[in-house]
Point group: C2
Chain length 332, copies 2
């Protein structure tokens, strides 16, 4: 079992201050490993990085088409959005269209990451609602499936038909029996897999033809929906949104809590999965940018890249204090 | 050079999700190593964990006494406070007493961590000021020294007499020539040292007699001021404040950015310094709690401990999702 390798370093005053270790796998069309760092067999929770996997049953079942979902809504169903007005409004209209209410969600509420919406709530002495939860788009997608299949309302229970359908899609595309599940921040089960399994699944998405079976067509559509609507996948200022824009819609990206990051590269037929051992988001953002640059998919000097890779650190008075960079030897 | 050792683990659904490696040193009365994990020679930036060191010249020079500083103010001079009304008001009155203004600070402004004060600013469409900076108490202490010594106003410049005095105190108590400095978030220079040097310095604080030379008396007083006024060192809900309260004022604690933590234990004559390699605060809080429990200074079942060590993780709906715990074998 290979050890995690140094992937990201924070430098200050010419000295190394902090360091992040991680594992990463790139898989090709047939699910074979193209390149790997650390331990491909490392068992991880993909967390929100697998939301496109959790959305497969929604599209595959015909529920998305029956409900007339747009690509923007499909992108939102794969999102960890920041609860901006754009996202909150879209989820509100979506649930209203289903004849459902905010209280039908099972994701819980938290303060939105979006500053404008956060400040609006505070000024109005208004509590955040479940629409503000970064997973509310995923849950709206889940409720769309539930309505279409006439399934029960407690859709985050691990033995609910929806979660069983997600597990089937998850295991089929990772090519592994999941060793178990955890409960995510939004209360949905999150199935564990090896990092190789997650990369293999992302390679399935990258290579899925528009003309294949229902699952392939669903994967094709979800990938394009994410890449075409980056503003719905995360939000202004966020890594997924900014980096997808920087790549001009040719790559789908998704972050997950505890420093998981995936990339789907249809042009190259590649799927990437990485996990920083310590769960640091700054490090997973830096490492995925480094991998995308090394594959020629992302420009090293693009502002969205430089915000995360070889990123100058400035303090509260705008003084340069250091740099966040890829570790020597990573990725090449 | 010993590798960092596993110190903290995050578990979810019965599986290991994330892991933090670190280094730690405990030093005794003569600065000798009592126990160490990882590499005692690891060079680190102490960041805010060394604020009591940066406050030594303030007390040692007589500036604190000449200005009539209270122990609460001395605690605030060693603080990374959260910009609550308590802290902002105290710094405001302090500077006013010196005949100075907010604009004389050189720490910069950032949104306060304290929710009540943050929300008050947002509701009033008021921008945060330099008083809200978590380091404003340290800077008020620095300005007190500057006034007393009739030194220049640009007190964060590395060649300012104050910073030279801090470097002297830093090197004398760490027992090392600092290999360099970085610029901190608050713009002050932050001198590098080995982890052993930082632990040795904390042991100096732990063993400094009230009857010794000016530096010893300053260290004695600063240690007692921090331990007696935990609310000024950080704030409600924060690790330093809650854990110092849990230990009944017998131990002084201080966190620093990028996952540094120190402890000063006068009863046992011990000084502790630890650094989590990846810079994660959740991990440094968990690890210092584990060390303090192992030394018998902190109760394992105290609510302040259980919030950080063997801490149940709950999601937005209050569902138990896992646990943050010390890694097997750490500290014993």
């Amino acid at each position: 079992m290979a050890q995690a390798v140094p992937m990201v370093e924070l430098w200050r005053g010419g000295l190394l201050e902090s360091r992040h270790l991680g594992h990463a796998v790139i898989c090709g069309p047939d699910g074979q490993i193209v390149q790997a760092w650390g331990d491909p067999g490392k068992v991880i929770f993909p967390r929100s990085s697998c939301k496109m996997l959790q959305a497969l049953p929604l599209v595959e079942s015909g529920a998305a088409d029956a409900g007339g979902l747009t690509d923007a809504q499909l992108a939102l169903s794969c999102a960890s959005h920041q609860g901006a007005a754009l996202h909150v409004g879209a989820v509100d209209r979506w649930l209203t269209g289903l004849g459902l209410h905010e209280s039908d969600l099972r994701c819980g509420a938290h303060e939105p990451y979006d500053r404008t919406e956060r400040d609006r709530l505070i000024r109005g002495a208004e509590a955040p609602c479940q629409y503000h939860n970064n997973c509310s788009g995923k849950h709206a997608g889940m409720l769309t499936w539930v309505r279409h299949m006439k399934a029960g309302s407690e859709y985050v229970e691990p033995d609910h038909p929806l979660q069983r359908a997600i597990r089937d899609a998850f295991e089929a595309t990772t090519g592994e029996n999941s060793p178990g599940f955890g409960i995510d921040g939004c209360s949905a089960p999150n199935f564990a897999t090896t990092l190789l399994g997650l990369a293999r699944s992302m390679a399935f998405f990258a290579n899925a033809p528009d003309s294949g079976d229902a699952r392939s067509r669903a994967a094709y559509r979800l990938t394009r929906a994410m890449a075409a609507h980056p503003e719905f996948v995360a939000g202004e200022g966020r890594a997924c949104t900014e980096l997808m824009r920087a790549m001009g819609g040719r790559v789908a990206l998704k972050t997950g809590a505890e420093a998981v990051f995936i990339a789907i590269l249809p042009d190259q037929g590649l799927g990437i999965a990485l996990k920083i051992e310590d769960g640091s988001g700054r490090a997973s953002e830096c490492a995925i940018a480094a991998l995308l640059v090394s594959l020629g998919a992302l420009e090293a000097d693009h502002p969205a890249t430089r915000k995360r890779l070889n990123a100058r650190q400035v303090n509260w008075r705008g003084i340069d204090t250091g740099v966040l960079a890829a570790a020597p030897g990573f990725p090449v």
